[in-house]
């Protein structure tokens, strides 16, 4: 054996030791719960079995495919996630561009802009519930004063407006998170690129499309993936604002799984639901990042 290769293998071993704690931690907090859910998903553990696990094979998973209620909540969650993340990225980009400019008091404005993200969701959900109250809410008050409506809208009482209210609240709450990520990305773009581009006669609008956006793609992808995963698991905002109503029209997957586990005490089925949701989420994220990678390789 030659000397350099032993050195390399030694380095590799040291590297392995160094990442070992992180790996163990990941296994404990990530792989174990998912693996355990997967395992529990093969058992019936519910009131019918007096909460004792009884092996049932794939029957929980088969049941999911025929469970219209689950797929309905799944569709509602997808709709909510796609719309709110899309709006958050667009608004987040706008806020990031503003915060990237130099102006007086920029640091103060940056701190304030981050505030909604720092507030506890359950509390701001209560606030938004009052904003959208049909009798006393500010939303209706403004619309009535502007003569845009003649009768106050029953925001949380209609499927469409309730969904809208949830999206507005979520966008308000999490846009700062996206804008901070994008702001970090903006600051890594060298200013001389813009100078050279404008010397060639390009407008700021053209610079945005040819310099800012392409160079910001990694940050956009990271922000989108983070937000996608988070929005998909939304619970607190919906639980407080609508509780899944009216008529189950805002019931998201997390609410349904919670009901199965905590209210119906159907732990086997709830575990199977978690596993299926997890797999679908992984597929969605994988598909999304694959599409982005492909579009980038085409554009390059």
């Amino acid at each position: 054996m030659t000397k350099p290769s032993t050195m390399r293998s030694q380095e590799q071993r040291t590297g392995l030791y160094l990442i070992l704690p992180a790996l163990v931690l990941l296994l404990l907090v990530f792989a174990y719960p998912i693996g355990r859910s997967l395992w529990l998903g093969f058992f019936a553990q519910n009131l019918g079995t007096e909460l004792k696990p009884v092996f049932v094979g794939f029957s929980n998973y088969v049941r999911i495919f025929g469970d219209g209620h689950f797929w309905q909540t799944f569709g509602i969650t997808v709709r909510f996630t796609v719309l709110s993340v899309l709006l958050e990225v667009i608004f987040g980009m706008g806020v990031a561009l503003v915060l990237n400019q130099t102006f007086r008091g920029r640091n103060v404005v940056r701190a304030i802009a981050l505030l909604p993200w720092a507030l506890p969701t359950a509390l701001i959900a209560l606030g938004w519930t009052w904003i959208f109250n049909d009798q006393y809410g500010i939303a209706n008050d403004i619309l009535l004063r502007l003569n845009l409506v003649q009768v106050g809208i029953n925001w949380l009482g209609e499927p469409f407006t309730a969904t809208l209210a949830l999206i507005v609240a979520d966008v308000w709450k999490t846009t700062p998170f996206v804008s901070i990520l994008l702001l970090a990305g903006l600051q890594t773009i060298p200013a001389d690129l813009y100078e050279a581009h404008s010397l060639e006669g390009a407008s700021p609008w053209q610079s945005f499309w040819t310099i800012t956006l392409p160079l910001l793609v990694p940050q956009i992808v990271v922000a989108t993936l983070f937000r996608f995963a988070q929005a998909f698991g939304i619970f607190d905002l919906v639980q407080v604002m609508t509780g899944g109503g009216p008529g189950g029209s805002t019931e998201v997957v997390a609410l349904y799984i919670y009901a199965n586990a905590m209210r119906y005490l159907d732990f086997g089925y709830a575990s199977a639901l978690i596993v299926v949701t997890f797999l679908l989420l992984v597929i969605a994220i994988w598909l999304g990042s694959w599409l982005i990678r492909r579009s980038r390789s085409i554009s390059e």
């Binding site: 019936a44 019918g48 007096e50 189950g248």
Partner: protein
């Protein structure tokens, strides 16, 4: 004593210097002796029984029940823990406590609809053999039935609750109308009063997607001669013609302008405020509303009558039975003391005091006609009829699911997202799948157990 001395000697032998160690040994010996004396004394300290209930229900307990019980039972303390106002959060707290295996609560204060679930989960002590038929004879039979699951008794009722019909005596009298006997009467009288501009709305009920809507619907269903789930045969009746007629009746109250369109988003308090402001002729609500409607600042004070929930013409109606009761946690370390507490709390003296103090509805039949109680609440003899006609929501283990299914489809039908027939067919199909799945896993478990034996 010798044992402790031996330990002390052993400890001394471990010490390096004999002089200091001997002194230390004496100290240890003294401490151990003190411990030996203290243990029996400490074990004679009172047993503490814990129970959790929602905060607004606590005052009658701390005002009277706890003091009186502790005075009568010097060895037992009763610790009432204040929980959230929202009862479904309370249910969550009990559930998590039980799931962890070692419940901190000895007594379980249960809503009537939790009993089958908690019993099926094996969290409650079976109390069937602790109470004789004679003990139970004094209670209203439906309140006792609400504490049974598969013919075993798990919960003793402390407080009753039943849905009923409030109506404006004054308006009916002025128009020369008799109080309604059927749903059709309610519709007719409402229209007459609305046409005479005596009142803005006719009938108020709770139509939001929540448990209260299920309770309200049980009464209409009973009134049309239908049923939800038969607990014995597990037959589901939601897609029967009677059930569809029941949904149609509710929808008609909105479409004919008898009920405001907002009823599909209202809970009890919304409807009570509406009625109290004099904006409606009829209200479906629970007994709690009576004292609020007759409060000094109430515009309808003294103008309200009550009656059991009415049926459709030619049928016999029923009120949805609610209420609270006590069970004992299976993991309680003091079941004997807990049983003593239950016997005291469901006793006649205790119940009478609470009824007088807080205006609760008793579970003992004799109390409805008790002189002191009638002197304070003149409507209690009438209230007895309401409670007597009580209908239980299906006492099945999967009630929470069954109720969620009904709420979802009912809300969809009431808000015109589906036709009555379509919604009830969907609700019935889903409920059937639910009870069938419960039956199957139970069967499988039984065969598996018999194989193991």
């Amino acid at each position: 004593m010798l044992f402790f001395a031996a330990i002390a000697r052993f400890l001394i032998s471990l010490m390096p210097s004999p002089k200091t160690s001997r002194r230390l040994g004496w100290v240890i010996l003294c401490l151990l002796t003190a411990l030996l004396v203290a243990v029996p004394v400490l074990s004679q300290q009172p047993v503490t029984l814990k129970l959790l209930m929602s905060a607004p229900d606590v005052p009658p307990w701390t005002n009277y029940l706890v003091k009186e019980f502790e005075a009568q039972n010097p060895g037992i303390r009763l610790q009432v823990i204040e929980g959230p106002n929202n009862v479904s959060l309370l249910e969550d707290l009990y559930t998590t406590a039980f799931l962890l295996g070692d419940s901190p609560y000895d007594l379980v204060n249960m809503d009537i609809v939790w009993t089958p679930k908690f019993a099926a989960a094996g969290w409650l002590k079976d109390l069937t053999d602790e109470f004789s038929e004679q003990d139970l004879a004094a209670f209203s039979p439906s309140a006792i039935a609400g504490g049974r699951y598969q013919n075993r008794l798990y919960r003793l009722p402390t407080r009753s609750d039943a849905g009923m019909l409030y109506y404006r005596k004054d308006l009916l009298k002025a128009a020369g109308l008799e109080p309604p006997k059927t749903f059709e009467d309610v519709e007719r009288i409402s229209k007459t009063l609305q046409q005479q501009k005596a009142v803005r709305w006719g009938y108020l009920w709770q139509g939001k997607q929540y448990e209260g809507a299920a309770a309200m619907f049980v009464e209409v269903l009973q009134g049309f001669g239908g049923f939800w789930v038969n607990p014995d045969t597990l037959a589901v009746g939601l897609d029967q013609p009677e059930a569809i007629r029941a949904v149609e009746f509710l929808r008609n109250t909105i479409s004919q302008g008898i009920s405001p369109p907002g009823v599909t988003t209202y809970v009890e308090e919304d409807t009570r405020r509406f009625f109290q402001n004099g904006e409606a002729a009829f209200l479906r609500n629970w007994p709690y509303a009576w004292s609020l409607l007759n409060a000094d600042n109430s515009p309808v004070k003294g103008k309200v009558g009550i009656m059991p929930m009415i049926p459709a013409a030619g049928e016999s109606g029923g009120s949805c039975l609610g209420g609270w009761g006590l069970g004992i946690s299976k993991t309680s370390k003091h079941p004997e003391e807990a049983l003593k507490a239950i016997r005291f709390l469901i006793g006649e003296t205790a119940q009478k005091q609470v009824v007088l103090d807080a205006g609760y509805v008793p579970t003992r039949e004799a109390l409805f006609n008790d002189a002191a109680i009638v002197a304070k609440y003149s409507h209690y003899p009438e209230l007895q009829k309401v409670v007597k006609n009580g209908v239980l929501r299906p006492p099945i283990a999967q009630y929470a699911q069954a109720s969620d299914i009904l709420q979802r489809y009912l809300s969809a039908a009431l808000t015109n997202q589906q036709s009555s027939e379509q919604a009830m067919k969907g609700a019935a199909a889903e409920t059937r799948r639910l009870v069938e799945a419960g039956r199957m896993t139970k069967g499988e478990l039984k065969t598996q157990n018999s194989k193991l034996q």
